[in-house]
Structures are given as structure tokens and as C-alpha cells.
């Protein structure tokens, strides 16, 4: 995919960039609070699972606030490494909005010996942010054995006592993401779509690109502009104005 250098950024590109900038800054600020809460509740010699459980109420309160302030977020929380600790049970502190808009803790299959183990450390949203420390947007994907919904996940690395211990994340269902971003794309006079670094369509204002499909080659007249200011690489594809 090509970019168009030297021209003023399109308003749609700036709008998408600003949406992700805000989304990641809110996630990062929740993450800072998470890490501070856990750092206060534990000592540097504690293992990850002890650190993770050191202030569950504090995390829950902070997530509740986040979900109240972000009605489009489906769930949010913190996911801890298990392999760094020799691979015991996984630890996931996750809260999800239910059908009555109350917030409930979600429990995952974290026992690695069980059939329905949610092997999250192999999933992109974990590896990119925990391993490489990047801000990352994973999706769209069906979170099988996880929350079992069609979502995208925004992640940032969590560091406590100077060590990466996991990631903070927020899930947005693809339906809600469409409700949020389609109006933004439609401000653009021509067709527009947002794709991940893999080329997966996240949302599109044209039926040429359908959510989930990979965009391999741009149709004639279309250009792709990379946005990375939020730390997570994405691209906005725009077509000629009719």
C-alpha cells in the first residue's frame, strides 16, 4: 500500500487519528492507575499472580469508571503473563458490561491443563503489547474461548515494580466500532475505510471493502495513509471523490 507524501492530511485521516489518540490516552491513563494500585498493594519480590490479586477491588473500581465514561467499550481489564512465571494458571482481571448495563467480572478458562483453556499468551493482542511493548490494535476477530464476541482489542503494556507483568486492554465489539467510526468516515466526500497493519478492514464507508476482509491491492484511484501517532499502526484508505 502506498502513501501520499507531501500533501496536507485529509480531514478524515486527522479525525481517525484523533479518535485513536484519545482512545489510547484514556487506556494508558487507566493502565497507569492499574499499575500504581498494584504497586501499592504488593512488593517487588512478589510473583505476578500475587501482584495481580493485590488490589482487585481497586482495579474493579477503576474499570467501572472507565466503562461508565466509555459507553462503546464492551469490556476492559488487565491480563497477566503466566509463562514468565513458569506457566501456572493464567490471571485475567476482566469486567464486562452485561445486557442491563451493569458491570460484571468475566471468568475465563485459565487452567492450562483444562480442555477449554484460553491460551491468551499466544494471541496477537497479548504478544504485541506484552512482548514488544507496543500500543496495538488487534482485530477484527472472534474471541473464541474468551468473551466469544466479534471484537477488536486495544492494548498497552503494564509495568509494575519495573517489570512488564501483562497488558491493559479494552474490547470494542465490531458493531459498536462501526456505530462510532462510520459517521467519521462518512464525513469524507469519497469512499473511505480503516484497515489494520495486516490489511484487515475494521470499518468502511464503501461496500468495496467489507469488515474483516483483507485488502491486498488498492483499486485504481485509491490511496492509503498510514497513521501511527497513537503508537498503533493503522491505515486510512480513501478513494476518489465522485
Amino acid at each position: 500500500m502506498s502513501t501520499t507524501p507531501g500533501t496536507a492530511p485529509l480531514p478524515v485521516v486527522e479525525a481517525v487519528e484523533s479518535w485513536f489518540g484519545t482512545a489510547f490516552s484514556h487506556l494508558a491513563s487507566m493502565n497507569e492507575d492499574f499499575c500504581a494500585l498494584l504497586e501499592h498493594g504488593s512488593t517487588a519480590s512478589d510473583d505476578v499472580s500475587r501482584v495481580a490479586r493485590s488490589n482487585r477491588d481497586g482495579l474493579k473500581k477503576r474499570v467501572r469508571r472507565y466503562l461508565r465514561e466509555h459507553p462503546r467499550a464492551d469490556g476492559a481489564g488487565m491480563i497477566f503473563t503466566r509463562s514468565a512465571e513458569g506457566g501456572g494458571r493464567g490471571v485475567i482481571e476482566w469486567w464486562e458490561r452485561d445486557s442491563t448495563h451493569d458491570v460484571n467480572r468475566y471468568s475465563f478458562g485459565v487452567d492450562p491443563t483444562a480442555d477449554r483453556f484460553y491460551d491468551y499468551e499466544k494471541l496477537e493482542w497479548f504478544t504485541k503489547s506484552f512482548g514488544a511493548g507496543s500500543h496495538w490494535v488487534t482485530g477484527p476477530y472472534i474471541d473464541y474461548l474468551g468473551v466469544d464476541k466479534y471484537v477488536m482489542t486495544l492494548t498497552v503494556q503494564s509495568v509494575v515494580h519495573g517489570h512488564p507483568i501483562g497488558v491493559a486492554a479494552v474490547d470494542i465489539t465490531m458493531d459498536d466500532f462501526e456505530r462510532e467510526l462510520l459517521p467519521v468516515l462518512r464525513e469524507h466526500p469519497g469512499p473511505a475505510a480503516l484497515v489494520t497493519s495486516h490489511g484487515s478492514v475494521l470499518v468502511s464507508s464503501t461496500s468495496r471493502f467489507v469488515v474483516g476482509d483483507l485488502v491486498e491491492a488498492l483499486p485504481p484511484g485509491f490511496t492509503s495513509t498510514t497513521i501511527a501517532s497513537s503508537g498503533a499502526p493503522l491505515a486510512v484508505i480513501t478513494g476518489p471523490t465522485p
Binding site: S99, D115, L123, Y144, H198, G199, S200, L214
Partner: protein, 263 residues
């Protein structure tokens, strides 16, 4: 092959559990799941209905559901669309498989194959245009898991996991739900009749052919690789039925006795 809850078959009490106890009831429900009478994704009837059906107190039935939850066969979800749902199929015991296969006609098996192939090929075509490199590496990992175990039950769950992941990669929630149901109906039966590790290595080769097509982004090749693979799977079950019918008297199964004269 799914059926209404009141069709739960009369079932001999399994060893170790006295009739009417929560464990015996849990075993009966588990056995219905293992042979596909209840499939993954289905919601169990309410506690009151189940208690009536088994003729036990609601408290006993609740204990039986707790046993099933502990065995990770069902989950109970709260809320408006809540209830107790089947999430996993246990591996059936040999007697159950025999009864199931004898009681299932070739017509039914062909119809099952038709749906299995229709869903499987649709899933493959979508995965070919939606799955990116990293997610295919995960599929490859899962494909390798099929040749690790030696126990049919473990091969069955590794094989199902591969097919479920293909459906996950299609990104279609509806197709995934259907695939989950099909896997719970077909997987345990297939691996009860298949030749263990020898069959697993054939399946492994077929899985790799599917992955290669997906890696090449070649939807058509992926579709034909999946079709060949799934047809082969159901033929194994059909062959097992034909050879077990030839060995066993038709009256072995109550549901086949009525038509025994015609076969």
C-alpha cells in the same frame, strides 16, 4: 442430529452411580452430549423441566448441573439470554457409539455430511480472504496437536479444535456456531470408529494441505482441500456403520428393529 430435551434416551445406569443420584443424572446428560443428542451451543431445559424429566428433586438436579459444570461440559450464564449451555462434548463410551451408529441411517449420515461440507467449505473460503499470517501460524500449531496424542478422545478434541479455529478465522459468528454444533455431533463419533494414530496422520496431512492453500490466499484450493477432507471423515463413519450392521443383529438397537426386515 439434535433433538428435543424430552428425547433424552432411556439409558442404562453407568457403573458407580446409583439411579436418581445427581452423579447418575449428570452421567446421563453427559452421555447424551457425547453422542450428539445434545450438541454444543444448545441450551438445556430449565432446572424444573429437567427435574421433572428425571423424576428427581430440583435440588438433586442442581447438584447434577454442578457436576457437569465441574467437568467443563456446560456453563451457566446469567442475564436475559442466560441459562445452562452445552460447551463441550465428552468422548463417548463404546456401547453408546455402537447404539448411536446403529440407530443412525445412512440417509441421516449423508445429510449430516452435506451440512458439514457446506459449512466447512464456506468457512474455508472466508478464512482464505480474512486470515492474516499470524493467525495462520496459530492454525498450524493446532494442526500439529492432532498427531501428538495416542488416545482417540484426545485426537478427537485436537481435530475438533483445528476445525473450530478455521471457523474462528472465517470471522463469521453464525458459521462458527454451526461448526461448533457439527463438531460436537461428528468429532466423537468419527474418532470412536477411526483407526487412532494412523487416521490422525492422514487427517494431519489433509489439514496441512488446507493451511497451505490458506497461506497462499487461494480460496478455491482451500475449499477443495476442505471438501476432500470432510467427505473422507463422514465416509469413515458410514463404513463403520455398514460393517457394524453386518456384524451385529439389527435388533441391537431399539430404533432400528422396526425396519430390520427391510435391510
Amino acid at each position: 442430529m439434535s433433538s428435543e430435551p424430552h428425547d433424552l434416551p432411556p439409558h442404562p445406569v453407568l457403573e458407580g452411580a446409583a439411579p436418581g443420584t445427581s452423579t447418575a443424572i449428570a452421567d446421563r446428560i453427559a452421555s447424551s452430549i457425547s453422542i450428539g443428542l445434545l450438541s454444543v451451543g444448545e441450551r438445556l431445559p430449565t432446572e424444573i423441566e429437567l427435574a421433572q424429566q428425571f423424576g428427581v428433586a430440583v435440588a438433586t438436579l442442581r447438584k447434577a448441573l454442578a457436576v457437569l459444570r465441574e467437568r467443563e461440559l456446560v456453563v451457566t450464564r446469567r442475564g436475559r439470554s442466560g441459562g445452562t449451555f452445552v460447551v463441550s462434548a465428552p468422548f463417548p463410551v463404546a456401547d453408546d457409539v455402537e447404539r448411536r451408529i446403529a440407530g443412525t441411517s445412512l440417509v441421516e449420515l449423508r445429510d449430516l455430511r452435506d451440512e458439514y461440507v457446506a459449512i466447512g467449505t464456506a468457512v474455508a473460503a472466508l478464512a482464505a480472504r480474512r486470515a492474516w499470517g499470524e493467525s495462520l501460524r496459530r492454525l498450524r500449531d493446532l494442526a500439529e496437536q492432532v498427531v501428538v496424542p495416542t488416545e482417540p478422545s484426545e485426537i478427537a478434541s485436537a481435530d475438533s479444535r483445528f476445525h473450530i479455529e478455521l471457523a474462528v478465522l472465517s470471522q463469521s459468528a453464525r458459521l462458527l456456531r454451526t461448526e461448533l454444533r457439527l463438531q460436537s455431533e461428528i468429532g466423537p463419533l468419527l474418532w470412536s470408529v477411526a483407526e487412532g494414530t494412523a487416521a490422525a496422520s492422514v487427517v494431519h496431512e489433509q489439514h496441512l494441505a488446507i493451511i497451505e492453500a490458506l497461506e497462499a490466499g487461494d480460496g478455491e484450493r482451500a475449499v477443495s482441500a476442505v471438501r476432500a477432507h470432510l467427505e473422507h471423515d463422514i465416509l469413515e463413519i458410514m463404513d463403520a456403520k455398514l460393517s457394524s450392521d453386518a456384524l451385529a443383529p439389527a435388533s441391537a438397537s431399539p430404533s432400528s428393529s422396526a425396519t430390520a426386515g427391510a435391510s
